[in-house]
């Protein structure tokens, strides 16, 4: 298929517009991260970071961001570990919950569904403040376990809804067919159900991971300032000072886990969907 040739002019125009819309906000951020002094009315920095760094006595701009003093490495590791753990636990909880919600009928099902989406309605601050008081008492405050538990609260509703929809779209007949043809339960799960669920699971995991890595308030309240993640580091940086070169650098690094994951999952999903379609 020669897709690129058949695109009408209007569609190309919108594609370019969309591209600009997505990339646009990054442009000033990238420039700022390399700027030493960038003030109105100059369209570009009047002095760049690399000409000023020689006379600076302390690390400046990217030198600071990439030095151990910025603690960015620690924050990235924390963010990824917390996001990864949250995603796996969330998946384990939601996979079975979604199967029941999609396939079974029982009294109070509507109520359970509503209950599961409550965290989307209750403000993060209300949950965080109450949790932090409870966690201080039980000794979970300022621990990884406490933060991961807290991150499950806003991520479970998304994951459950997504997986429920995926299960609903999966005809139980496929599994039955596999069993009739001689597959045991495990084989049916491994060879039939899982491959068909996988695109949905990957999408759910991606979403959960991105939500978790962007949570500021819950992490901040329950981490007690002891556990830093990229969002808390960025907030500490821009809350007191302006968006200077090092803040812009940290902001750019903050987008990396998301972009990396999007690229990886894009490849995985492409392959999987192709396989299922075959």
């Amino acid at each position: 298929m020669a897709r690129s040739k058949s695109l009408p002019t209007a569609a190309r125009f919108y594609l370019v517009l969309m591209g600009l819309f997505l990339v646009g906000p990054f442009v000033p951020l990238v420039i700022q991260s390399f700027a030493f002094q960038w003030d109105w009315p100059n369209l570009l920095p009047s002095e760049w970071w690399f000409t000023a760094r020689d006379r600076a006595r302390l690390p400046l701009g990217w030198d600071y961001v990439l030095s151990p003093y910025s603690r960015l490495g620690e924050a990235v590791v924390n963010t990824v570990v917390i996001g990864g753990a949250t995603t796996l636990i969330c998946l384990a909880i939601c996979l079975s919950a979604a199967r029941v919600l999609a396939r079974e009928q029982f009294a109070g099902k509507r109520a359970v569904e509503f209950y599961l989406s409550l965290p989307l309605i209750v403000p993060e601050a209300a949950v965080g403040l109450a949790l932090s008081v409870i966690f201080v008492r039980v000794g979970l405050a300022g621990s990884y376990a406490g933060i991961i538990i807290a991150h499950l609260i806003p991520t479970i509703p998304y994951m459950v809804r997504l997986l429920t929809a995926v299960y609903q779209g999966l005809d139980p007949g496929f599994e039955e067919q596999a069993r009739v043809l001689g597959a045991n339960r495990l084989q049916a799960l491994r060879l039939v159900t899982m491959p068909m669920l996988l695109p949905g699971i990957l999408a759910g995991c991606l979403f959960t991971f991105l939500v978790s890595t962007n949570l500021f308030l819950l992490t901040f309240l329950l981490g007690q300032g002891k556990i830093i993640t990229v969002p808390t580091l960025l907030f500490a940086k821009i809350a007191g000072g302006s968006l200077d070169a090092s803040a812009a650098g940290i902001a750019l690094v903050a987008t990396l886990p998301g972009i990396a994951l999007l690229l990886v999952s894009e490849r995985l999903l492409d392959g999987r969907i192709g396989m299922v379609a075959r």
Binding site: A35, F36, Q37, D39, W40, E47, A52, A56, R57, L58, P59, L60, Y64, S67, P68, Y69, S70, R71, A125, A126, L129, A130, S132, V133, V136, R137, A141, G142, F220, Q224, G225, K226, I228, T232, F235, A236, K237, I238, A239, G240, G241, S242, D244, A245, S246
Partner: protein, 449 residues
């Protein structure tokens, strides 16, 4: 603010239901130390056995972070204590943490905060709630680096924090002074305002080219206090504002602040956005700095005796920025401190940290690398140490240290700060038509405990 109130409310709900947890060893150490039964070697030994110190400080300054990790951490490690430097977004977060721990029944040896960098209302909050370790400052070996003699007026900054008696429950760490910077690209030396009347004249010629940060931000409060000092109808400046509201009385306060508030009302149409009919007060220092950098305002004020040098060096101020003497005779000077909470998990290590921070070495490197003025008092030091401190000081631009020293004024009493802030919000921001006496009286009544 709202968030914090909710938090404290939830915390206090749980307070009454929780059993008290205490660490016997830490409690014993505290009692012995405060009674003066321990030598400094005993403290060092105890600190080594505690192993770590949880220090909480505002982490928004790259230079400070570098200094903390590259100078303080190795120095503490040499004393056998691991510095856990928790960088926080706002000081009150650490104060809230202390309160939440206390509400959960965590006392000495059992909390999560060993030391906090703070001053003003955050210290006042901890003191009011009786959440401070106790009087330790004068028991530190480096206490000799401070002026404690009450007869010497210069000791006031060590004895009082925004009018609240420090009682040795916090030790001075840095000094600060409210200094304004002018961009010489727009504001020639000859037109530099030195008094508030000068400022009005400048703004009449250049409308909209000044802004002060909006109270209740402490920088906005400070600007308002300086106006009130300058327009004090008795001509006694900051003096009456050192008293607590209970001693001063609402009627007297209203009389003292009336001319100052009249001035603030008068210049409002000349401030940023005023000529366009929508006056704009920047929300915080970052916003004001952005306005200054982009030439929307010609003068930017804030705490930072060496801020112009630091900001010129890191690109956040134009190279044409210079310091000015404004408001003459009323540049508020204060100190900020290190406090140890009552539920410090490692109280001995916290004392060792406080003592190190009060050393000449720490103060000289901090001044040199971070540009924070010394918290110790140079006249109490050996000549060589005082000279090292003086040599480490960053440069001034356009003014001299002597001129800056000659124009200082003290902070306003912490109990008046809230009343003045509430009056500003009612009189200036909401444009209330009530007489000023009534606004002040209402604010006093509302804030009464």
């Amino acid at each position: 603010m709202l968030l914090r109130r909710h938090f404290l409310f939830v915390a206090s709900l749980l307070a009454s239901t929780t059993a008290v947890m205490a660490d016997e060893a830490a409690a014993g150490f505290r009692a012995q130390f405060l009674a003066g039964n321990l030598s400094w070697d005993d403290v060092l030994t105890q600190a080594r056995s505690e192993g770590a110190v949880q220090f909480f400080y505002w982490g928004g300054d790259d230079n400070l972070n570098v200094w903390m990790d590259s100078v303080v951490a190795p120095a503490m490690a040499a004393l056998g204590v691991t510095l856990v430097a928790n960088r926080i977004t706002a000081t009150k977060d650490a104060v809230d943490l202390v309160i939440a721990d206390a509400a959960a029944g965590r006392t000495i040896g059992d909390g999560s905060v060993d030391a906090i960098w703070l001053n003003g209302e955050n210290f006042y909050t901890l003191k009011q709630q009786d959440l401070l370790f106790g009087s330790f400052a004068r028991a530190l070996p480096n206490a000799v680096n401070f002026e404690w003699e009450a007869a010497d007026a210069r000791s006031q900054l060590n004895l009082r924090d925004f009018g609240t008696l420090t009682d040795g429950a916090e030790v001075p760490w840095s000094g600060e002074q409210y200094v304004c910077a002018a961009n010489r690209a727009q504001l020639p030396v000859a037109q530099t305002p030195h008094t508030f009347e000068d400022l009005r004249a400048y703004l009449e010629a250049n409308p909209g080219k000044f802004a002060y940060i909006k109270p209740p931000h402490y920088l906005g409060n400070t600007f308002v206090q300086q106006v009130l000092y300058a327009f004090n109808p008795d001509g006694t400046g900051a003096e009456p504002f050192q008293q607590a509201i209970a001693d001063l009385g609402a009627a007297e306060l209203a009389r003292l602040v009336a001319p100052g508030f009249a001035y603030l009302k008068q210049i409002e149409p000349l401030l940023l956005g005023g000529p366009q009919g929508a006056v704009r007060y920047p929300e915080d220092a970052a916003a004001a700095e952005g306005l200054f950098r982009n030439s929307e305002i010609h003068i930017n004020c804030g705490f930072g005796l060496y801020a112009v040098a630091t900001k010129r060096a890191n690109g956040s101020y134009p190279q044409t920025a210079e310091e000015i003497i404004f408001p003459a005779g009323n540049m508020i000077k204060n100190k900020n401190y290190l406090a140890i909470p009552a539920n410090a998990p490692n109280p001995a290590a916290a004392l060792v940290l406080a003592n190190y921070m009060s050393s000449v070495d720490a103060q000289v490197t901090k001044l040199d690398l971070v540009g924070y003025p010394a918290g110790i008092d140079p006249w109490t030091l050996e000549l060589a140490d005082a000279a090292a401190l003086a040599a480490a000081a960053p440069a001034h631009f356009g003014v001299t240290q002597d001129e800056l020293d000659a124009n200082i004024a003290p902070d306003t009493n912490a109990s008046l700060v809230d009343v003045i802030e509430a009056t500003w919000l009612e009189y200036i921001e909401r444009g209330s038509r009530l007489p000023l006496e009534e606004i002040v009286a209402n604010a006093v009544a509302k804030l009464a405990p």
